[in-house]
Symmetry: D2
Subunit: 137 residues, 4 copies
């Protein structure tokens, strides 16, 4: 199981903020999804191929976040993704958001549970083990 | 051709605003789509039925807006939709956004061109004349 | 403490959905905020007055949701809000999302913690007790 | 006046798409704003400094777009920004969106008019000429 934490840089634009002058709370979940997508792609999981060729989709079955400090317009954020639990048809991903760098202020501490489904029937489907195995080559 | 102007009431929530304290410009186009959807439904056009049963979709091929005055958090808006031009496979919809009522301040003056396509091939498809005909009963 | 569950009706438009054909997970948190806003307004809490006149804001400090069944384009949803815990400077709100009615399918079971802050200093501020007290008149 | 076209790469995530399986029309305007922001920053215009230190904001007073071909999930887009007209207190920006590269398919041809306002009074304010002048060094 890979122990590394994936990092994606995300810029805060006007679209992400609200009239309180900070990032709107639901938008952090969008940032988290961007990081998951790029992380899974690095691990060989491509959403488009999965859906069109393997008849499989990943869906978020649970999400949670603690909003510790607000991100503001112009911020450069680091959004992380790392595997926390791997089940048969679902896995938990830990996702934090930091200002500037992973050594900077922790703004959001969150996580999601992703479930693998057959795209048409929406039945749970086994996650290929290969995705999260350490490359031993 | 129906000459009435359809009106939909839309509330401004935090999600719609940005750090300038006003509604984010792209979100007015979302308000406009809500009004179009409800207006078309009144005219007998249901997006879900269209896509699933008639293999037809409506897509926006052009959009424009003048942002005259900003809407702010808590505003109660009226978003209008009315037919401006009916072509063979496309039609123009005029869409304005007012504060409080259609007699209130005009905030946004806009419009879109909607094109009718075959859902799978994405080829232009004729718009049923019946949609926009005056009910003569 | 009020024991009633507030209900807001929300329509699902194209803007709310994603390429999986269902409502995008982060957007349920937007629906939840709409219900909270309307509920708090009924309880006498107006975001705009609070921010401009009382120098107070409510911020979400925690959010969580279980996505049990997907909402789809055209759905008419009921989003609820009810007080679950009232602390000195924060409170927990339970928020569920149902299809059609509160007796319909439960799609999302969620909740948020809202914290009251002084708008400029962002320090925690006591929540007026009166908001959530039963009207004894 | 600078004649170069600024380019920003934008990835299409689930959040950007809708149930038609393509990018939701209003979201292209978000992509356009990202490119404008980065372009203006390269030209020395920082939104945060402008608002906080110079009491000036840029607002979009007009926007338009022709949606020629849809972008889909996973697409890597190029969003451009270039100056088309420079007025006293406003300027027009041409903004196109291409698949993969500026030599790829043109998906969206659009533009916005940006107006410079005094942040508190919302009165039009002169745009510093220096921003768009060719660097002659």
């Amino acid at each position: 199981m890979t122990s590394e934490t994936f990092q994606l840089r995300v810029r805060v634009y006007y679209e992400d903020t609200d009239a309180q002058g900070v990032v709107y709370y639901a938008n952090y979940f969008r940032f988290m999804e961007r990081a998951r997508t790029e992380w899974l792609e690095v691990l060989g999981v491509d959403h488009v191929t999965m859906m069109n060729e393997e008849n499989r989709i990943l869906v978020v079955s649970e999400a949670n976040a603690k909003f510790l400090r607000p991100a503001v317009l112009g911020d450069s954020l680091i959004v992380t993704a790392s595997l926390e639990r791997l089940g048969r048809a679902s896995f938990d991903i830990k996702q934090n958001i930091y200002r500037n760098s992973i050594d900077g202020e922790l703004l959001v501490a969150g996580g999601v549970t992703a479930a693998c489904l057959t795209a048409d029937t929406k039945k749970p489907k086994r996650i290929p083990r290969s995705i999260f195995e350490e490359d031993s080559s």
